[in-house]
């Protein structure tokens, strides 16, 4: 099976998510080729990090210098259209979300999202998707011999996809990129100055189960006792109860503290991706079926408002 991987890059560096897919692609390809697709402007140098691929297809255009949903969709679609059948692995990331489903329509190839596993044994492609916030796995079989799989971050090893050596680079010319409705303007970096949660040894992380911003104090007291910091799931940050710098997950930060205590966090895939490498994970959640318990070392199904003050007291 010929496997294609979309290379995700930002500020001149390739994401780990891309290497995870390259590693998986090598395994899936068997004896066939693994091709990395790269789009950019003056970015062919990045190909030297893509040694896990047998070949790199590269499209260059000023409007590909920075990720742009419109120009990247057009470029990748032209790069792939004469190369199907094949299996295309796309990172299910902010950028990949703009590509996978769109390529599916423009190439008329099925797409499967939230993929946590992909198999291609015996020429049949099957994909396992993590649906319903991680509560249910769904296995799908693809009808034909082509598929786009939008793969979750952190499910395959990035090390497997990292290899030196420059594969052969083939330039692909793409057109229709001059006149765009979507124009990239700039990147805005997050403001620093707050606590750096990636450096904390202990994180007390709060989710929607905390119910209101007044209740944050019970997490702060526990964190203070442990010399740690308070972090949060996305809804807490969206509600502006805590700054963005405290968000753990896909669109927040990746953390690996010694101890991660999740209070009222369900464990959606987007959250898990940011904290699953913590050394010790403790989850307190009243729902015994919450997916967070599949990743935690210790779990408690009592009400966090009973357990947390008692815990702070005992420490």
């Amino acid at each position: 099976m010929n496997v294609y991987v979309i290379t995700e890059h930002l500020n001149g560096s390739i994401s780990d998510h891309t290497f995870e897919l390259l590693g998986k692609a090598k395994q899936l390809a068997g004896g066939d080729s693994v091709t990395a697709l790269l789009a950019g402007h003056g970015a062919e140098g990045l190909a030297s990090q893509l040694g896990a691929a047998s070949k790199v297809l590269y499209a260059d255009h000023p409007n590909l210098e920075n990720f742009n949903p419109q120009s990247y969709c057009k470029a990748y679609s032209q790069m792939l259209k004469d190369r199907m059948p094949g299996l295309v692995l796309v990172p299910y990331s902010s950028m990949g979300m703009d590509l996978a489903s769109g390529l599916s329509v423009s190439l008329d190839v099925p797409v499967l999202a939230y993929a946590q596993d992909v198999n291609a044994g015996g020429g049949k492609i099957t994909v396992v998707s993590q649906l319903y916030g991680g509560k249910i796995n769904v296995e799908s079989e693809v009808d034909g011999d082509s598929c786009i799989a939008a793969v979750l971050a952190g499910v395959f090893s990035a090390d497997e996809g990292k290899a030196d050596g420059s594969p052969e680079v083939e330039q692909v010319s793409v057109d229709g990129l001059d006149d765009l409705q979507v124009k990239f303007k700039r990147l805005i970096e997050p403001e620093g100055g707050d606590v750096d949660i990636t450096q904390a040894e202990v994180l007390v992380s709060v989710g929607r189960g905390i119910q209101s911003d007044e209740n944050l104090s019970i997490a702060e007291e526990l964190a203070a006792k442990l010399g740690g910091a308070v972090s949060a799931s996305r809804p807490i940050v969206d509600n502006k109860w805590l700054p963005k710098t405290r968000q753990v997950g896909k669109s927040g930060l990746k953390v690996k503290p010694k101890v991660y205590i999740a209070l009222g966090i369900s464990g959606a895939p987007e959250h898990i991706e940011g904290m699953k490498d913590s050394e010790l994970i403790i989850a307190i959640n009243t729902d015994p079926n919450a997916p967070i318990f599949d990743y935690a070392n210790y779990g408690v199904t009592e009400d966090l408002f009973d357990v947390v003050p008692a815990l702070t007291e005992k420490l």
Binding site: G102, S104, S129, Y132, N137, I188, D294, G299, V307
Partner: protein
């Protein structure tokens, strides 16, 4: 500018999900549905945009899983028109089919932008918003956390990992996958929804031809294996706290 907001009803994850005996779908008999949380944000952002710049907000929903309730709630919040898309939407509707039905209806309306929730928990075969954009033949931007109007062109913020934001200038028509509205989605009291049910004209439009090639079949549905599951600590809050304190102290 007119903004279309597709509303999707998804299973409420607070309830326990069961799988039907065939193992290929959820057991739908007792499923409780709620509006996809990101669609709620999309509606909020659309209403805020309208409050600042005028135009209409048009909420649409497939006729499935209590769609009327979602549409009346949207009307109570301030949507100008609410439209139910009729057709055969039994069981789990594929993203591609849903997007096609919405595209057929949207093509008959006067619109400038679609604000869709960036994703939903049941999108097995791709994101409805992005599929919709491609069926409509317009560009899209996903994971949007900011929309402002610069004299007809939009300034869009798209969020990457680590809190980095990319700013784009976009000329409508466009589909935006909204991640978070500028403010917490507004709440409407039940009484106001009831009033909307009496005073709102819930329009119906036919989905038309929704034959698309999804290209895959569900072969199995299962709850994730309890392989790496946590050791569960039992007892009163006090007892559990004592055990936790010991575990944590052994680590730091």
């Amino acid at each position: 500018m007119n903004i279309i907001v597709p509303l999707r009803q998804v299973p409420d994850l607070v309830e326990e999900l069961e799988i039907e005996s065939g193992g290929k779908d959820l057991d739908r008999e007792w499923l409780k549905f709620k509006v996809n949380e990101f669609d709620d944000h999309a509606l909020e952002e659309a209403l805020c945009f309208k409050e600042d710049h005028g135009g209409q907000v048009i909420a649409i929903a497939l006729d499935a899983n209590d769609a009327d309730k979602a549409l009346y709630a949207a009307a109570a919040k301030g949507a100008d028109r609410v439209i139910k898309i009729t057709g055969n939407f039994e069981g789990q509707v594929a993203s591609r089919t849903a997007a096609k039905a919405m595209a057929n209806v949207i093509a008959q309306l006067e619109w400038n932008m679609v604000f869709a929730g960036v994703q939903a928990v049941d999108e097995r075969d791709g994101q409805v918003g992005v599929l919709l954009a491609h069926f409509l033949g317009v560009p899209h931007v996903s994971v949007v956390t900011g929309v402002s109007n610069n004299g007809g062109t939009l300034e869009i913020h798209k969020e990457y990992g680590g809190g980095i934001i990319a700013e784009f200038e976009v000329a409508p028509p466009v589909v935006l996958g909204i991640q978070a509205a500028r403010q917490t989605p507004r709440y409407v009291p039940v009484a106001k929804v009831r009033r909307a049910m009496r005073s709102t004209d819930l329009e119906e439009m036919d989905a038309g031809d929704v034959s698309v090639n999804v290209g895959s079949q569900v072969t199995r549905m299962y709850k994730p294996e309890a392989g790496g599951r946590a050791e569960m600590l039992e007892g009163s809050a006090e007892e559990v706290a004592a055990k936790l304190a010991e575990i944590i102290r052994s680590k730091v």
